[in-house]
């Protein structure tokens, strides 16, 4: 059976792509952000995942308002990035894992999640940047991916409670997959930020730090927030926290925090990083 090795949750601000393209990792502005990633890469090297299941949101590359799925599961053999309007260099294509995608789709619908299934799907910076941060340097990606897009563009958004339940259902689906693959679950976005309105630039450090603690020890606590609570506390675009909640919910049983980093600001955003290990998988690896 498949093993979930852990979860990595990270911000995905487009400016990170610009910084990578211009090799600014050691620049004073960027260093406190990029310095968060090496310990997580070391953990990933040891955990050896074969597949990354990625909770993220599409910001108008693949989906438009003509048809906006609340939750969309990718089932393609390959996923490509494309110009998102800023002419940034695109990343190399990702290999999909259609067998796992369809297994997750079957299990989610059996679990009464009425998801959208996508055999063609472009992936935007919310997926590509976390991948480039975790597996930098070019060459082939060492993992196959299953993208799961959550609507954070048009209200009504799925609620925090529903997003958490989706993540838990995806975790059950992965654990019931007959393949012996090792799977890491990523959640991307956030943390607090707001791009629009007179409150643009809003950041809430105490709220972010509370959420990062809760995601380790008491993630269910965050499901009591409504979507509008998150808008108020984390900013209009800070609702992306829900992708972190889904990724965390996929982990069964006891967990251990591997590494965390938090830095303000990157562009308009409070940048967070949190890696959590599934204790059962780690003990099995040590044995």
């Amino acid at each position: 059976m498949a093993t979930i090795v852990g979860s990595v949750m990270t911000s995905h601000v487009p400016a990170i792509g610009r910084a990578i393209a211009r090799q600014l990792e050691a620049d004073a502005y960027w260093k406190p952000f990029f310095d968060g990633y090496p310990p997580v890469r070391e953990w990933l090297d040891a955990a050896r995942p074969d597949v990354a299941v990625v909770f993220y949101q599409d910001h108008g590359l693949n989906f438009f308002l003509d048809a906006m799925p609340t939750f969309a599961v990718g089932a393609a053999a390959e996923y490509r990035n494309a110009d998102e309007g800023w002419g940034l260099p695109t990343v190399r294509p990702f290999r999909g894992d259609p067998a796992l995608s369809w297994h997750i789709i079957e299990r989610l619908v059996a679990d009464e999640f009425d998801i959208t299934m996508c055999q063609q799907m472009k992936v935007d910076h919310a997926l590509t940047l976390p991948m480039a941060l975790l597996w930098p340097g070019g060459g082939d990606w060492p993992v196959r991916i299953v993208p799961i897009a959550m609507n954070h563009v048009q209200h009504p958004l799925p609620s925090p409670k529903r997003s958490y339940a989706l993540g838990a259902a995806v975790g059950r689906a992965i654990a019931s997959w007959s393949d012996d693959a090792r799977v890491v679950v990523l959640g991307t976005g956030g943390l607090s930020h707001q791009l629009d309105g007179a409150r643009a630039g809003f950041i809430n450090k105490p709220f972010d730090l509370m959420c990062m603690d809760a995601l380790v020890d008491d993630p269910v606590k965050l499901t009591r927030y409504s979507t509008l609570d998150l808008v108020r506390e984390a900013g209009a675009q800070g609702t992306e926290l829900m992708a972190w909640m889904a990724a965390r919910a996929a982990l069964p049983g006891p967990v251990r925090k591997v590494h965390a980093n938090y830095h303000v600001p990157i562009s308009n955003t409070a940048a967070g990083l949190l890696a959590i290990e599934n204790m059962a998988a780690s003990l099995a690896r040590a044995a």
């Binding site: 910001h59 209200h155 629009d196 409150r199 509008l228 409070a270």
Partner: protein, 117 residues
Amino acid sequence: METRSDDGIPGTPIFDGRQARKGYALNAMCFSFNDESNREAFRRDEEAYCRRFGLDEAQRQAVARRNVAALIAAGGNIYYLAKFAGIFGLDVQDIGAQQTGMTKAAFKAMLERAGRS
């Protein structure tokens, strides 16, 4: 709970169904800017490009003025508008500064302060 654009979180637009209906043409135009050829067509003849997407008068004026608050009021969604802003080399901090009435330097200083709080 239903989310609505007038729910009253100060200074915080909610892009709900009402805004999405109002802004459909404007957002469709901005979505087209994923393609460089469309950005080029807009640069070549802005008026004609807006007409092609059926923007209303308020939307065309907001586009002409590059005014983000007016674009949002006219139904624009910030993620699609970011593609429009990119045509003029404006990033999200330029957009934030414009909406808050600050200089970009003051806006960035505000963000830096949020990290120390």
